[in-house]
Assembly symmetry: C2
Homo-oligomer: 393 residues x 2
Amino acid sequence: MTTFQANFTTAEYLRRIDKTRKAMAAKGLDAIIVSDPSNISWLSGYDGWSFYTYQAVILTHEGEPVWWGRGMDALGARRTVFMEDDCIRGYDDIYVQNPEKHPMEDLSGLLREKGLEKARLGVEMDNYYYAAAAHATLVRELPEATLQDATGLVNWQRAVKSEREIEYMQRAGRIVEVMHEHILEVAEPGMRKNDLVAEIYAAGIRGADGFWGDYPAIVPMAPSGMDATAPHLTWDDRPMETGEATFFEIAGAHRRYQCPQSRTLFFGEVPQKYRDAESAVLDAIDAGLEQAKPGNRAEDIANAFNATLNKAGFEKDSRCGYAIGISYPPDWGERTISFRRGDQTVLEPDMTFHFMPALWLDDGGLEITEPIRITETGHECFCNTPRKLFVKD
Amino acid sequence: MTTFQANFTTAEYLRRIDKTRKAMAAKGLDAIIVSDPSNISWLSGYDGWSFYTYQAVILTHEGEPVWWGRGMDALGARRTVFMEDDCIRGYDDIYVQNPEKHPMEDLSGLLREKGLEKARLGVEMDNYYYAAAAHATLVRELPEATLQDATGLVNWQRAVKSEREIEYMQRAGRIVEVMHEHILEVAEPGMRKNDLVAEIYAAGIRGADGFWGDYPAIVPMAPSGMDATAPHLTWDDRPMETGEATFFEIAGAHRRYQCPQSRTLFFGEVPQKYRDAESAVLDAIDAGLEQAKPGNRAEDIANAFNATLNKAGFEKDSRCGYAIGISYPPDWGERTISFRRGDQTVLEPDMTFHFMPALWLDDGGLEITEPIRITETGHECFCNTPRKLFVKD
């Protein structure tokens, strides 16, 4: 029973379940055990920071899905999922982080109770929240079941967004826009980096246009100078300096939907090298975006981007984009489609991506990125943040 | 090569490695593959939000540990680990979130190169960052190796803190104290919850006494009223109301060391039920803390706490504390010692815990908790936050 303002109608959850069941049938699965928190939320509405203990949604071909998790979190499930309370099953606290017992023993009992002990069960083998020990326990406890890899099965159903999902992503897009505006307003040489990150967090969580900010699935990245040659270092208290570039890889979030966008800020006179990189990246973004339309393939965007970038004398050897939507830590990507050579996924309207053509140079980083939505005829950007290298004197 | 201000001396890292090797020897392990980001950081100094792709530290009985991860993150490793650059190994970006390939294929190659293809290798079977697919890939790629569960092996070495670690936790303790002071100052009925969370985040990251705030391993929890009957719901924008209790389960963090502390704030006249609960919890905390001294066992604290609580007519059926220290999302606990019946771990000086006697009532929650350090003769609290139910009219 939902007491929160429900994020989606029950009809929308049922459509998602129907879509997922078709994918299960195509793989010959009797049931799936869904461990990925974003998949759990997408299928059931569940929302809570409880994924550090085992939890799952069990979906068969009939009836409502079952939420399973730690007993104390069953109360949070009652307040967030669309299903009736009898579809919520909590396990005893003695299973929590106890080397003598594993929560999957309890889940095995539940699966036996549902008559699934000989079933073909899909499990998300390559998910943060389905560790090797969880799998080993299920294999041991359910010797007659067939456990089959279903990594990404639900994630792929999420690729095309509903109207309501797009609306949430637009709100998140507006939030990240406001975060970048705020950075430009308050950042200055001499400011401690952590003080700036405090401002970024606060702006993001206050939200924009009356829409509240949720927590991004990754913390704000804001490395300066040489630290910006490495993409994933977090902050400390060293003050920002004139003559340095700082990139801001941040996301707005609303009701768990993520809209990441990066911009780079240079203090002082911009060296020609950065101007060249800016110009190369902007041209390459244009070339990539031109390919962002239904019917084209994911790799078309990467190939066009890379061809233009290489012509200007720059190289990028990592993927330049990925699918986005609802997400929980540690990643705001959907872990399905990537913009890189070889990804032949055909683009469809209302697929959503972070086009992420970051360049890491030998003495700094340049990130100018765009969250986008594929439309009926091409694409649109979720944000109106000016697409350029920001400079402050 | 460290260019950041190193968090610890190389001597301290070597002591940790020595301690870990003894534990490996006791289990007959030739090497361990460490996936837990907090263990990786504790052994090598590595710090970055890159754990959403596979990474590890490989430790054998000789030489420096090897950091292994995504190619682009090798640059972050160069800037944070204590080891020489030739102990840093990056893998190609094509392995990232690619259903056709698994990063553990690359790691297997590295292990073969090190002559470990027939070795007895410890792996952290029950860790978020060692998914079932990672294990299956290693098993397949290294058919002659013996993979043995080493979950918690490194975590247990972390239980007793060094002087420097205690110093960082004291700073984190001061930060969470300031966060609670700030909440008391700015919270009021009618305030949107997300606006208050924005303030909490900003205060925590600004830090205290000149020490910068790092990101807590869990987001601020701040549920009100009935939502507070469920422990792990996050915020939205509903305004706080008179007549409701809100609990704040938050942590200060400094250089990845976490100091969680909870307090509860009531707006308006406090119902007798909450006064009774407050009084019961405070008495039970005193009883528990009296047992917090070297030589006693972890369960002694839980048993004393529960006995006193039960006498007052309240019950708590979940554990009332756990070890804390360095941590990364999704959990700020060390996942070793728990304050609960049956945990016979003997307490030692400089072990550190979150004594977490939260009470969830039928119409709200009451959390008054203390991060503590075991001393030579008893314990001390990391914070001076007044231990009581906060009330604002």
